[in-house]
Amino acid sequence: MKKAINLSVNGVSHAGEVEPRMLLVHYLRDVLELTGTHVGCETSLCGACTVMLDGQAVKSCTVFAVQADGSSVTTIEGLAKNGERHPVQEGFWEKHGLQCGYCTPGMIMTAAQLLERNADPSREEICHGLEGNLCRCTGYQHIIEAVQYAAKKAGQS
């Protein structure tokens, strides 16, 4: 039995019917064709699927689309504003915070939330904030530097 949902994704309203068991990440990827959000483990352990749900970074592989009914979702595709890359996106590019890029959208969303909560985090606070996101390529050092760069940049603007 399908269920009607209505949610805003990256500022655009979407109404439709979904199976109650459809995962939010599949709704975003398969229905809305926003494939920037990735699936890495289906068990909320890797963080590749992280999106903002009403301003909170969540792992969209363990949220049902129906749970997002009435909510506002931001995905990696919606992070840049008016064609301006988000400071965290800038940081990842500037500091080589990505290699294969698969964990990157989730990592960037988590980092963006981290900086919203703490504009000037220490290295330890950054590491702690990124604990829910796995990267197998970078060894994290450049990711940490990317977040530091973004914090500095956001602080200047």
């Binding site: 699936v39 294969c100 698969y102 590491c127």
Partner: protein, 802 residues
Amino acid sequence: MTENYVGKRVKRTEDPRLIRGLAHYVDDIALPGTLHVAFVRSMYAHAKINSIDTSAALAAPGVVAVYTGHDVADKIGPVPCASALPELKVPDHRVLARDKVYFVGHPIVAIVARDRYAARDAVDLVMVDYEDLPVVTDVEQAAAGGPVIHEVFGTNIAYKLTSGEGDVDAAFAAADRTVKQRILHKRLAPIAMEPRGVLARYFPGEEELTLWSSTQIPHLMRTQVALMIGIPENKLRVITPEVGGGFGSKLNVYAEEALLGWISMQLGKPVKWIETRRENMQATIHGRGQVGDIEVAFKNDGTLLGLRYSVFADLGAYHQLLTPAIPTLTGLMLSGAYRIPAIQMNITGCFTNKMATDAYRGAGRPEATYVVERGLDLVAADLGMDPAEVRRKNFPAPSEFPFHTATGLDYDSGDYETALKKAQDMAGYADLREKQRKAREEGRLIGIGLSTYVEICALGPSQAMPAGGWESATVRIEPTGKVTVLTGASPHGQGQETSFAQIAADELGVNLNDVTVIHGDTGIVQYGIGTFGSRATAVGGTAVFVAIQKLKEKAHKIATHMLQSDASRVSFEGGKYSLQKAAAAAAATTGKSDPVVPVGEAPAGALPEPQTEGKSSLTIQEIALAAHVAKDLPPDTEPGLSATYFFEPKNFTFPFGTHIAVVEVDRDTGDIEFLRYVAVDDCGRVINPMLVDGQIHGGIVQSIGQAMYEEVVYDEQGQLVTGTLMDYALPRASHVPEFELDRTETPSPVNPLGVKGVGEAGTIGATPAIVNAIVDALAPFGVKHLDMPIKPEDVWRIINHG
């Protein structure tokens, strides 16, 4: 050439699409009418299949087709193994199990349905009647005659091999002293963040099959899958879109790749399979898996005389592409960075009821480096010498290169002492030892671990490779002056869209953003070998470099003609061919030449006529235009401006370096904390230092994983205990220290770029440094060796129970 880009920290051209979520991995490609595939996989490690009932699955809503092993047995050939060791036993490895299953995760039934949920639902409706059989998971038990997995062989031993040079027995007989240690290299899971995935689309009219697959080897896969499913190779196109990491796990040809292609051909519809993480843990290759004994013979002064490594290699139930070959790579690298006159490796490769082992970052070389570097620390401990001094004593001098080892290799170039000294200086080694001594007096447990590794890269000369060791490149300059590079390498995170563009831009004197690097599409790119074995830049980058030289020979000829001069009077500098009197002026302009046809101003219809009247120099892009318009070319000159080169390396390359780890162990909890991590790596000439650092960081952290966290665990029933990322511990951001990196740069004489390769250095060099540091920290408790992963509990037990 003018080096505007090579050697510089150039930001990646790949990144803008990746950081905005606009890149396309396999699962991001949506074709209308795509069907989804899910697999029924074995729950048992070893069982007879009495019957399979698929009727309920077939009747389930949305299910389109169901295939069992018997349905495809005479339709799809066996999963290939490219290793050709003497007397190797090769089991008949079918894409779906028929009468027996051999490991947990072994695919049995493929279900095709309208969406991924329906396919997954139907998996639970398939009834498989299993009759379980005795299981063997322990490699030594398998060798000793445990339950036989493949009855046809009557044994679990797939091969035995002895390698090495020099008289090892004599070396041991002549030695003042010897040390001996049993060591384990546990199985590891590569865990690329993007699991594997395949999308297959068959056009029955054109008889063309396209496979989008997350692979490191698109061309080799095309050849193998074409043979497996019996489609002409030129009717099969393999595309690797964005690939989310590989680490060797996608250097393979898997059952699912052939099966999806075949299913699409049966149904005439696109079909997609995206591996779940659980499937990835069960049925994507594992790495390592060796149980061995090291013996080292040496003199009282620390001079090494001989080394023997006898090892049982846990191959798993079947051979994947390179399974049996991996331990032989260990044998090649057992000389490490040292002069060891006699070396012997004895391999017993065994079948076990587990997933196959194969190439995981380093692929046999981390095992070798671990053996040698642990061995050197055992020697140092035995003699009471400083580990750095034992190493130093046995290094070959830079003047001794090419250096022949008793493993049959000729190391290309090296300066091991300089790298060691640099790392020691960075770390403040003498002070660290003093600090350690004082800390011990206070009851603190600080350990310092070294590894002075050498690795084998740029795989490799075709003679030494199962399916060609060269790499290809086509470079062309389009009529509008844009440069297209087609590489047979298949980067998946290494950044060669940028680093190859750096090479091309410098060699051609054009802007970096006028160069596009295309890879991973067998319909567009000439045959290539792929990306693995730290080969892409050293072999594939060299192919790009030489192709450009070929292209420039032709451009020179055209330029000479257009400038109405003699070839000897025309020279290339700063992107321009100039008459010699004007050459100095051209060289003085550092700016780049612009494309002939600026973007947005492309003429409709005919291309513009090249303007050469009265010119004393021409940009290479003006020459490209003339070559395509082709109204006034020198006699016997083919129109167009492109060149293809297949580079065959004459030798491997041998990067090296020194890693120093400093750790402190917590007496109360057994926790291990990094105090410092210093690495000096030498990967030859560096194209982009930022990318090199990234490779080193990532490699070291995979080493931290192996040394302290990661271990694929099967229980005695062959159940995979570490089947999710909850149970298999990967390093997270808070687990890693801040790395202090530096480099030495010893060019390789093997290729004209002088590059060696860096993709695996961190994983090869770091593991023993970390373990040596932890063992050193626990030396006051008499600890000489610990097996990986070294967990706080192990450490705590040693401290508290001795």
